[in-house]
């Protein structure tokens, strides 16, 4: 239990509880079942994408193209549904996930195959993918009445009281937990994020792991693209614009280190929960939505300051001599 719930996670959980109490005290309607249902459904997509982003961050990378992949995959699914409204929703979901996989693998090939910096590659493909949404849709919107019935209703249908959207998010949480914390490939991501040279020296195939990471972020972004379009019942060029920042914010708040090698599924989950509760509470307690951006920025800064403090304390405790670094030979390969 202690390993599952680190001290940092426990602190964050307490902060979230305090935040919830404060909100409910100001506006009891927030605790109503209907509202909580909305909050959970709103949080599902952010949770999926924050977990995806965590894979990249842990491996000392970043995927800035997730928002654009969501828009492109969502648009492809929407165009399919517009052309053939009778097709089952699972086909749209498969198309979105499959196209996300291809787009993510393209990122991964550039990063792992050519050794290019992830931030440059994904900044470039963000722009390309977003432009392609415009190309395939001719800049037009695909609206609710053009989409198939099952396409629209699938995420909202319920199974055992929870929506499909929530179930998918839970499945991603469980899969990420098993993969990152209990599978060898997942543990290797932490190793290569903590020290790429050492990871190479102990025989981890860094390029293959990097390809895997960006394929995972791309696939999950593709799936989320469909879920986003179906939930908000519209697909257009600006779908999920800037969403990559929110996913990184959720990770940073959840204690995932931007320098790689550090992070956990529980923390990431709490980070997403914190942001979703905050954003959903603002309108309920009568704060203008124009405050949302500044508040999220301030929250990220506060979280990163706190993270750095705890990280420095940890490093100070571990380091006795100044680090001499790794032998140059191991970097050359």
């Amino acid at each position: 239990m202690r390993r599952l719930f680190g001290r940092r996670d426990a602190t964050l959980a307490l902060i979230i509880a305090a935040l919830l109490c404060a909100i409910v005290w100001r506006a009891p309607v927030f605790a109503s079942a209907g509202n909580l249902d909305t909050v959970i459904n709103d949080g599902a997509i952010l949770t999926i994408m924050a977990l995806a982003q965590m894979h990249a961050l842990v491996a000392r990378g970043v995927d800035l193209s997730v928002g654009a992949v969501m828009a492109l995959a969502g648009m492809l699914a929407a165009l399919l549904s517009r052309a053939h409204p009778e097709l089952p929703a699972l086909l749209a979901l498969g198309l979105a996930g499959g196209s996300g996989l291809v787009l993510g693998a393209a990122n991964g090939a550039l990063i792992a195959g050519l050794g290019m910096p992830p931030i440059v590659v994904t900044l470039g493909t963000l722009s390309v993918y977003r432009g392609l949404v415009f190309v395939i849709s001719d800049g037009a919107w695909v609206n609710a009445h053009e989409l198939g019935q099952s396409f629209l209703s699938f995420p909202h249908e319920r199974l055992l009281g929870l929506t499909h959207l929530t179930w998918i998010a839970l499945a991603v949480v469980a899969a990420s937990y098993l993969f990152l914390h209990h599978r060898r490939a997942g543990r290797e991501l932490f190793a290569l994020g903590g020290n790429p040279a050492a990871a190479r020296a102990v025989g981890i195939d860094v390029a293959r792991r990097e390809l895997l990471v960006y394929t995972i972020t791309g696939t999950l972004a593709g799936l989320s693209g469909y879920l986003w379009v179906a939930r908000y019942a519209v697909a257009y060029t600006e779908t999920a614009l800037g969403f990559e920042m929110q996913t990184i914010a959720a990770c940073v708040i959840g204690g995932v280190s931007i320098r790689g090698g550090r992070g956990g599924v529980v923390g990431c989950l709490l980070g997403s929960a914190f942001l979703v509760i905050l954003f959903n509470a603002l309108p309920v307690i009568d704060v203008s939505p124009f405050w949302q951006m500044a508040i999220s920025g301030a929250t990220i800064l506060a979280a990163v300051v706190l993270n750095a403090r705890s990280e420095r304390r940890r490093l100070a405790a571990r380091r006795i001599l100044p680090v001499a670094g790794v032998p140059a030979a191991s970097r050359a390969t």
Binding site: V62, L110, L114, G115, M116, P117, I119, V120, V121, L123, G124, T125, L126, S127, V128, Y129, R130, G131, L132, F134, V135, G139, N195, A197, T237, M245, I248, A249, V252, I258, R259, S288, F290, W291, Q292, M293, A294, I295, S296, G297, A298, I300, L301, V304, V305, A308, R312, P322, V323, A324, G325, V326, P327, A328, R331
Partner: protein, 344 residues
């Protein structure tokens, strides 16, 4: 960004800092000389394609006027290059532009005159740059997370102040900043760009500050051991980047005659794309000002040409993104080929 583990050669730090430019980078220096030739060829190709595509392109006054549309971004690219050479990154410049624009828009309604607005915009940008710099250099936080935070914070403050409104009333003569001409021919913005580009070139390549920037961009630990106050330099380069964004904000607000919270959106990407296209390595310590200045004109004239052909702005995104990836992929592929040839 500066993790001690990244640096391999700390055995004789002072020597390794001096040794780095001498031995291993000689082939690289050749590559960069070639990179600038690639940019010149690219520039010629863009001009040729534009001339072929539109009869309005090759017109002296049109060309001079077109520089206004990219001069503001170009100004920020100059200082952004320095930040990136120093192993940092600043994603928040577009938000700094928006907040500075909002501040001077408000000051204009309070009756402040044109010179006052210009000074206020630069001062506001400088202060915001200092805020970034203090968090990154003084508190030792990763630049990418700090500036992702300030992206939302700065633009968010602008949204709180303005909502979906805008400031559109400015004093007499303010429009001359971004729309006026020197001697009735050359836009002021181009004059400012040329003067500052020269100044940045000298700063990077002919001063001690520039040499130190390369030194710590190559190897921050070695630079620290040889007595360079790395964090002070990083702080001031973030500050300078803020000042340039403040200057760009004044010019942009004057040119479009309005300050809105969503102004300059997407500039962060475009500015970084220009810098990387100009041959500045995102890993720090490499790149030259001449490359960045060439990249400014490649990107600017490309945008202008597409505009003449009525190509929608978002299509430009595809080209910019592809150029950004290609400009990094190409040298990587060349290096691979070179290596395999040497290995064989």
């Amino acid at each position: 960004m500066i993790a001690a583990e990244d640096e391999a050669k700390t055995v004789a730090p002072a020597r390794s800092a001096r040794a780095t430019p001498a031995t291993p980078s000689r082939p690289r220096a050749g590559l960069f000389a070639r990179w600038e030739s690639v940019l010149v060829l690219l520039l010629v190709a863009v001009c040729a394609a534009n001339t072929w595509a539109s009869p309005y392109f090759l017109d002296a006054q049109n060309l001079l006027d077109s520089t206004q549309s990219f001069a503001e971004k170009a100004l920020i690219a100059l200082s952004m290059a320095l930040v990136i050479i120093g192993r940092d990154i600043d994603l928040s410049i577009a938000s700094i532009v928006a907040l500075c624009g909002t501040v001077i828009g408000w000051l204009a309604t309070q009756g402040v005159g044109t010179p006052g607005l210009l000074v206020a915009s630069i001062a506001c940008g400088t202060a915001l740059g200092m805020f970034n710099g203090a968090l990154v250099a003084r508190l030792g936080l990763p630049a990418i997370v700090v500036t992702i935070g300030t992206v939302s914070l700065f633009r968010g403050i602008s949204f709180i102040a303005l909502g979906d409104g805008a400031y559109t009333s400015f004093p007499e003569g303010f429009d001359a900043l971004g729309q006026g001409y020197l001697l009735g021919v050359v836009p002021y913005e181009l004059v400012v760009l040329v003067v500052l580009a020269a100044a940045f070139h000298v700063l990077l390549h002919n001063t001690r500050v520039g040499r130190r920037l390369y030194a710590y961009g190559q190897n921050p630990d070695a630079a620290r051991y040889s007595g360079i106050d790395v964090d002070a330099h990083r702080f001031w380069f973030f500050t300078l980047n803020g000042s340039m964004a403040g200057l760009a904000a004044a010019l942009l607000t004057s040119r479009i005659g309005a300050a809105r919270p969503n102004m300059a959106s997407g500039w962060d990407l475009e500015v970084i794309a220009i810098v990387v296209l100009g041959g500045v390595g995102i890993g720090g310590g490499t790149g030259r000002m001449s490359g960045v200045i060439l990249a400014v004109f490649v990107m600017g004239l490309l945008t202008f040409g597409l505009g003449l052909r009525n190509v929608p702005g978002i299509m430009l995104n595809i080209i910019v993104g592809a150029l950004l990836v290609a400009s990094v992929a190409l040298p990587a592929i060349l290096k691979r080929i070179e290596q395999s040839r040497r290995g064989a």
